[in-house]
């Protein structure tokens, strides 16, 4: 078991190093950041001085070593456009994205699993058919369209919810939270629905497919023959047996929720990392882009690691398999 855990952690570290390398290589081709930072009337000598200050004239190997060493300390340098430390910038934006992603994930899981279980248990019920039809829309409509539709209906027409921003926030230490105020929570509703809707339909459809599969299994038939209640058969035996693939997908999807909150943040002008990333792309702000990429990689790797460890908790057969390995 320890072997299994160590192997996963080793894999996670390897992935992060590779991502750092890719980030470094990739951003060498983005274009000359000096051109973005200074106006056309700046002299060549001034440009060279700036280049030296930023260390952009060193050899590639030196730059790479410096990048890796600094990345290890969560130091990604100074943003070219904001002239501020990237770490400070990201740290300031991170709570907004985190809270949005958390709300979206909870929405997707809390609604998606019960809906999937219901449609799996009663595939022919009217409600199930209605949901399956609706879920097609959820899967096929692009995120920005859902966001704009929601804004039109609930912000413009009904005026129930704010159309942009985080509302009032409360500062707790380094963390700026929107969970504690009424306007903060209200501002969270539409962005999290927009961000979580795709994942919700995905989770629901996956749980449904797995349930249909498991309901045919012998041990379900045997559980019925033992005279257990429908409730026990459906939830204690069937739903639990669908969880391994479902947890995998949920894990991956939470990763993509964080990574692809960019669109939702743009639609709702949500002051998170996604919005920061968009502006830094427009300005070839390489330190910010690199930091964002590393951030997303860390989140993905952490979630995957958690998922691998969750397997151990759910399925005893994996515990045995790793002990033998």
């Amino acid at each position: 078991m320890l072997h299994y855990v160590l192997k996963r952690i080793g894999g996670a570290i390897l992935v992060l190093v590779v991502v750092a390398l890719i980030a470094f290589v990739l951003f060498r081709f983005v274009g000359d950041p000096i051109n973005q930072m200074v106006g056309q009337d700046v002299s060549v000598a001034d440009r060279e001085r700036l280049r030296q200050m930023l260390g952009l004239d060193d050899s590639i190997v030196v730059q790479l070593a410096r990048f890796l060493w600094n990345a290890l300390h969560f130091d990604f340098g100074v943003s070219y456009q904001f002239k501020e430390k990237v770490t400070t910038l990201v740290a300031a934006r991170f709570p907004a994205t985190f809270e949005l992603s958390l709300a979206a994930s909870i929405f997707a899981i809390v609604v998606g699993i019960p809906v999937g279980a219901y449609t799996g248990i009663r595939p022919k019920a009217l409600m199930s058919r209605a949901f399956m039809a609706l879920s097609l829309i959820g899967v096929s409509l692009p995120t920005f369209l859902i966001g704009i539709l929601l804004i039109y209906v609930f912000a413009v027409r009904l005026q129930w919810l704010p159309s942009y921003g985080r509302g009032e926030t409360v500062q707790i230490g380094f963390w700026r939270t929107g969970f504690l105020t009424k306007s903060g929570l209200a501002a969270l509703v539409m962005p999290s629905i927009t961000l979580g809707l795709f994942q919700l339909t995905l989770i629901a459809r996956l749980v449904r497919a797995e349930m249909l599969e498991v309901m045919r299994a012998d041990f379900i038939r045997f559980a019925r023959a033992r005279g257990l209640s429908e409730r026990a058969v459906n939830f204690r035996h069937a739903l639990k047996n669908t969880l391994v693939p479902v947890v995998t997908i949920i894990g991956l999807q939470i990763g993509s929720i964080v990574a692809f909150s960019i669109i939702t943040e743009t639609v709702f002008q949500w002051p998170g990392m996604g919005l920061l990333f968009i502006t830094s792309v427009q300005n070839a702000d390489i330190p910010v882009m690199a930091a964002y990429l590393m951030m997303v990689a860390i989140i993905f790797v952490t979630i995957n690691l958690t998922v691998d460890l969750l397997y151990l908790a759910i399925d005893p057969r994996i515990r045995l398999g790793s002990a033998q390995a």
Binding site: D218, A223, R224, A225, R226, G227, L228, R236, P316, R317
Partner: protein, 322 residues
Amino acid sequence: MSEPLLEVDRLGVEFVTRHGDLRALDGVSFSMAQGEILGLVGESGAGKSLTGRAIIGLIDQPGRICGGTITFEGRRIDNLRSADLRKLRGKRIGTIFQDPLTSLDPLQRIGDQLVETIRAHLPLNAAQAREKAIALLGEVGLPAAADRMRAWPHEFSGGMRQRVVIALALACDPSLLIADEPTTALDVSVQAQIIALLRRLARAHNASVLLVTHDMGVIAEAADRVAVMYAGRVVEIGPVADVIARPWHPYSRGLMGSIPSLREEVDRLTQIPGAMPRIGARPEGCAYAPRCPKAEPRCRMAAPPMIEAGPRAAACIVEPAP
């Protein structure tokens, strides 16, 4: 003989499909006495497993009971509401399925599955149910039963798992045990142990067993009486020794002739020409007539009735009672 424990009378089961209703069981009748072991034998598709499932009301969709009655412990159970039927399953009627490897929930400890079943039917608290579960595991021959409670199904071999399945089936002292091919998925060396265990426990708990199998060897070893099924009907029923020694129905004779014997040396086993008609393609009259060496034109006119002769009965109008 006192009142039978189980009486199946002209049971019919059909599957509703787009191409019309297919009759899978067609007038299956037999009865079982308290404590008796009845073997139900036949080839694949004859309807033996389906008969067992119909009794506990667990026919796969889109199948349904379309005729006849099932009387258990003096009460009709074929028309019970599903909630009432559920109280019967596991409590009065225990079931053992073919594949012990897939019958247990892989994500639940052995002990939890036992306790869960016991508490679903009996008014015991957790500690009492646990005690009973340990006793059951000991009874089915698992050594160190108390330690095994925390084991996972995958940690057990097929034979051990089937013992656990038997413990689950017997958990609430049922009066009827339906054993659907209980040894088919097991190693030959383990088969005999499981059959002996089943027989011993059925006697000890005074439970009747409906032993569904395609293996005449298992029937010969374990059953008191045997019912031979062919194409959705019972074609012969009687005491095991009689049916094996002097089969009455031509199909039974063909079945017995295809069993290798240790006593006599035979070059080739006899085989029955042709195949059992598929469901939905069964002929008028006796379903066996197309393959039967003794068939006469009148066999094809109407389904032959069961003709009784003492403890035996067969659905053949040509062969005289042996």
